[in-house]
Amino acid sequence: MDHKPVIVVHGGAWAIPDFLAESSTNGVKHAACCGFSILAQGGSSMQAVEAAVRVLEDDKSFDAGHGAVLNADGNVELDAIIMDGRNLAVGAVSCIKNIANPVTFARTVLEQCRCAMLTGDGANAFAEEMGIPNVPTDELVTEHAIKEWEQYQKYRQSVTSLFNTEKACDTVGAVAIDSHGNVSCATSTGGITNKMVGRVGDSPIIGCGGYADNLIGAVSTTGHGESIMKVTLARLVLLYMEQGKSPKDAADQALDYMKNRVHGRGGLIVVSKTGEWSASFTTKRMAWAGID
């Protein structure tokens, strides 16, 4: 074992309401423990980030898998990405329906498919082919998500990007380095409440929602998706690290740049190839947990 394993997870950067704060904290702790136990047993960082994100997808406190927000039509459309820092292999899915664990499906795309990214009905058809169970939308939807959606429907015209930034988006993610020094990232989300049908945010976009490269490190992002995309946030953090910055300085600089250049807020978790890590955010709150 050359490297000390590390895992960091996040449960989304936004104005987490008080009633969700405790369950969010417990959720990220649980996810980090679950991922770390895999690393401690000699498992790979890919296994660890997938397992950690699955825990968060299954937890109704988070906007991913179970607990995902609803789009303008009252449906659930999910995005996810997973990336292997060894060979830059990536699997991503966007706008998929009726799947409980999009991150596992993204990993299936990475391993079983010549493509890096699948979207919409085509993605769902491939999931079926791969034997991934179809979960009725009702099972993924929580009462909180419905209430939030109803509120947004009332104020449809007044929903602005700025409002979205702080209130109704959140995403889950994990980054890890294993005992072999391999880094990975995974990100999964239901997107923004009342989003347009077919809206794809930053999460499944490589370099935006996440990036992993053994030569540098791994990042998973969260926050206002459209802003994250405009600055390709995950790749930007790693570019700063390539220039010699520490994970914390790189994260802060990239988040500052996003705030100044496109007026967007968010957060991210990052681990370097040497196992240094950081959890940073410019939103009011971000639930995160790290174990090293």
């Binding site: 459309e77 060979n87 830059l88 292999a89 990536v90 966007s94 706008c95 498919c113 010549r114 493509c115 890096a116 990214m117 699948l118 979207t119 919409g120 009905d121 085509g122 993605a123 058809a125 491939f126 929903v159 602005t160 990007s161 979205n164 989003k195 347009m196 049908v197 077919g198 809206r199 794809v200 945010g201 976009i205 490589i206 370099g207 935006c208 990036y211 998706g225 459209e226 995309m229 405009k230 600055v231 390709t232 790749r235 930007l236 570019l239 250049r261 496109v262």
Partner: protein, 315 residues
């Protein structure tokens, strides 16, 4: 700032009999974009107009002439980006429209979002009054033939893909604004729902007034893995010329993920490059009223007779 426009019609290996058509197509696209700039349009408008010319030209794998997916359908991806404020619009796996680049621009201008996909993208197109075009009308004889050949057992779609490229444009306008646009039908016989690099910001294109603009083409999955457009701009931020930066990005893609492709690049001073690691890439550039085109490594054709006016009268 002197206006400049550079376009590409895809990187790969071009069948000789189509070469002339490709060169004529990229030339017309570049001239159309340049004409827009000369008439006072901004870089964003110029790249959109240049890409529309190639989407409408059956030679290119974008809009009319797009390749077919495994079910014989056409699903297209496109992106446009404004370097002034990093605003961007993109569509993925969109069906039944003639000009995905225009839809991408509407996503940028009329929604709070950056990327719309599949049915949601079509729904938005309808709401914006964009006419629905039956897939049959976007299919050319050539793309159907290619699709049929690929259905044969043991066929290699990637090999047959060669020469059928994505299209793209980058430009800088008189005020120093840069923009990029990229549009594609993807890979022939691709899985339904496959999304390549084109619609992914930072991979298929990126534009930032502080640095420059890039549009990429080639092996989509490799381009995504290295986030090629953003990577090239990163090298330019570090002081490399557009040519050096593009070569560095393409070299890295070759050595790290064994991927080949090409890119057109312009920096904030109007210096530009068209580089590729594939055998060929069709491209055209107009600067100072002079049209240059290329297909092969190291070979550039320059139109010297009656440069600007002659060509502008074509339209």
């Amino acid at each position: 700032m002197k206006p400049v426009v550079v376009v590409h019609g895809g990187a790969g290996s071009i069948v000789k009999e189509y070469e002339e058509g490709y060169i004529s197509g990229v030339s017309q696209a570049a001239l159309k974009g340049y004409e827009a700039l000369k008439n006072g349009s901004n870089a964003l408008k110029a790249v959109e107009e240049a890409v529309i010319v190639m989407e409408d030209d059956p030679h290119f794998n974008a809009g009319y002439g797009s390749v077919l997916n495994q079910e014989g359908d056409i699903e297209m991806d496109a992106i446009i980006m404004d370097g002034k404020n990093l605003m961007s619009g993109a569509v993925s796996a969109v069906r039944c429209i003639a000009n995905p680049i225009t839809l991408a621009r509407l996503v940028m201008e009329k929604t709070d979002h950056v990327l719309l996909t599949c049915k949601g993208a079509s729904q938005f197109a309808k709401s914006q009054g964009i006419p629905e075009v039956p897939t049959a009308k976007l299919i050319t004889e050539r793309s159907r033939e290619r699709w049929k050949k690929n259905l044969a057992p043991g066929s290699n779609p990637l090999k047959l893909q060669l020469g059928l490229g994505t299209v793209g444009a980058v430009a800088i306008d008189g005020e120093g604004n840069v923009a990029c646009a990229t549009s594609t039908g993807g890979i022939s016989n691709k899985m339904v729902g496959r999304v390549g690099d084109t619609s992914c910001i930072g991979s298929g294109g990126y534009a930032d007034n502080a640095i420059g603009a890039v549009s990429t083409t080639g092996d989509g999955e490799s381009i995504m893995k290295v986030v090629l457009a953003r990577l090239i701009l990163y090298h330019m931020e570090q002081g490399k010329t557009p040519e050096e930066a593009t070569d560095a990005g393409l070299d890295y893609m070759k050595t790290r993920v064994d991927g080949y492709g090409g890119a057109i690049v312009i920096n904030h001073r109007g210096e530009w490059a068209a580089r590729f690691s594939t055998k060929q890439m069709t491209w055209a550039a107009v600067k100072d009223g002079q049209l240059q085109t290329g297909v092969y490594q190291g070979k550039v054709e320059t139109e010297t007779e009656n440069p600007r006016d002659d060509h502008l009268h074509l339209h």
